[in-house]
Symmetry: C2
Subunit: 341 residues, 2 copies
Amino acid sequence: MNLKELSQELGLSQTTVSRALNGYPEVSEATRNRVRLAADKYGYHPNARAKGLATGQSMAIGHVIAKSTSHEMVNPIFGDFISGASEVYAQHGYDMVLSIVNDSDEATAYSNLKAKGTVDGIILHGPHLDDPRIAHLKSLDLPFLVHGRASHEVGDYAWVDVNNRRAFMRATAFLLDLGHRRIALINGLESMDFATRRRDGYLGALQARGIAPDPALMRSAEMTELYGYGSAREMLGWNAPPTAFVVSSMISALGVRRAIEERGLKLGRDISVITHDDDLSYLQNGGEVPIFTATRSSVRLAGRRAATHLLDLIAHPEKPLAHELLEAELMVGQSTGPAPA
Amino acid sequence: MNLKELSQELGLSQTTVSRALNGYPEVSEATRNRVRLAADKYGYHPNARAKGLATGQSMAIGHVIAKSTSHEMVNPIFGDFISGASEVYAQHGYDMVLSIVNDSDEATAYSNLKAKGTVDGIILHGPHLDDPRIAHLKSLDLPFLVHGRASHEVGDYAWVDVNNRRAFMRATAFLLDLGHRRIALINGLESMDFATRRRDGYLGALQARGIAPDPALMRSAEMTELYGYGSAREMLGWNAPPTAFVVSSMISALGVRRAIEERGLKLGRDISVITHDDDLSYLQNGGEVPIFTATRSSVRLAGRRAATHLLDLIAHPEKPLAHELLEAELMVGQSTGPAPA
DNA sequence: AATCATTTCCAAAGCGCTTTGAAGGTCTGT
DNA sequence: ACAGACCTTCAAAGCGCTTTGGAAATGATT
């Protein structure tokens, strides 16, 4: 069933039917209702391609996620982020198109999306400190928003980010307040912007108390369970082991906990752990009292906010670019306690 | 830059340029090269909507994932699955469009995709035992493929699945061979088809040895870490605790391990665990010797296979529907050992 | 009853591409 | 030199929608 058939069925012109359905004022309410009813009855939905061709819009947002052949990892937070974003898209009639590209092809991927007109806007994931993609997207004249920030990028661009620096500063200060002095940082890859900010927060808190950071206590890698386990296991074997850990992800924190328990130590008594918790749907941090003390910030919410801002940017390109900094909550759980004497 | 402009630039008709670019034989190689060069030079890519409108194809595949308001969970395997699928799509010039829908709206979501012509085919995720979506999709005359199967569905449909029954049969038999007699099953939600098959495999192995299953040892729920932990913790407190666990996901297995170690027991000596391992990129099962003995089957591979079959189905609708059953490998790791005397 | 302003509707052009049916050019064989 | 056969190219229609410019119908005003 297409517009032509539907309008014939109704004895109206295509124009009128189209206007009735799209809410234009030039058509009477009586006709509009008649049209709506018929559209429902025949299950009419305008063909998206034809509509897009006529309007110049695709009603779709692109999410390009880069995958290097070296580390083929799809970030585990991705599922929750797009779940949040897609809620918003659905409300506004937008589709979501996903491209997973080798990072070497990423530039051309964006150009193609633009040239082919597949999408009306793009959300950029996982920005690095110095991310050429941002300049490239700007030059394409395609609305985009960054999930995270790129510290070295000078120009303006729309973003939604978590206040990673403050979160990790607070987490570290919280441990310092509990008397901990040797605090390890199990961070994500520090080529990623978010990880650098977290380290800054950690260092800032130490500095505020006049404590010199120990480089041996700072690790940076892809955030797997094994990485958390291996790092903690090694550090706990030292003569002067850390008494607390600040960890960048729940998954790695699970590994840290394993190393702690394997040594016969008790989490929250012998060793304290604070982790960042993205509030992933399949990795809930316990019940009433969270297992881990954590800096929590829902990545699903970030997805919703990012989508909202991007759609707004598309609708109102003249408005100033959105910058939203989400604050993480510091949730006290069972994994922290005073430093052992 | 569009076709019209490009052809004017070249002094050719739109027809010739279009044919040259699409590899039709009616155009000389000399002209074709000239056209290709110019297209490259101007970065010309045909507008996807216009092309789609003309050809009747959208060159996109839809992945609809249902999200009930009760359990808002995005399956953690999803990221890896689509990562695999998108590799194949990219090779064939297809885009991937994602819709995350409330399960109540799922039927209309499919109808809309069909009516709007957004996609040329659909991959169905997470089939239940008795899944009305399959019949519905059939009635829509839209090519589709199911990741998994629906045991109660009688009609034919294309699918790619893991041999869950055999995997869990082998896992259970492996433990039985090691002398274990009280083996717990920490399964996924048994309304899901895959979980039912896994239970069947587990029961089949017990039955083959004439061992009566103990319903108390069988659990079924959403596969979180906490669920694994809670189940194992409780069972290990019993008078007659299980000596081994068969677990449906790595994440839950991490929880089981936690409960074991918390009790001061040693994994692989006091208690054995076999888990199913989807080979997720961010949850690697250890290094040379895996941490967990596991039935491993790469969900990324499943994504690749599913995409391949679906594209094939779209290109050759007359061919018989694809049914591919992937076998899981039984990888021996450090989490299993002979039953304690 | 004639005029004008509204309201309601429509025919047709256009979005950028593919593809049909046909025409102009070039080459063979006689 | 000419018909026939091919190779190469093109104009125009059509995909399903939106939207412009305009016309018909209705109602209000003189």
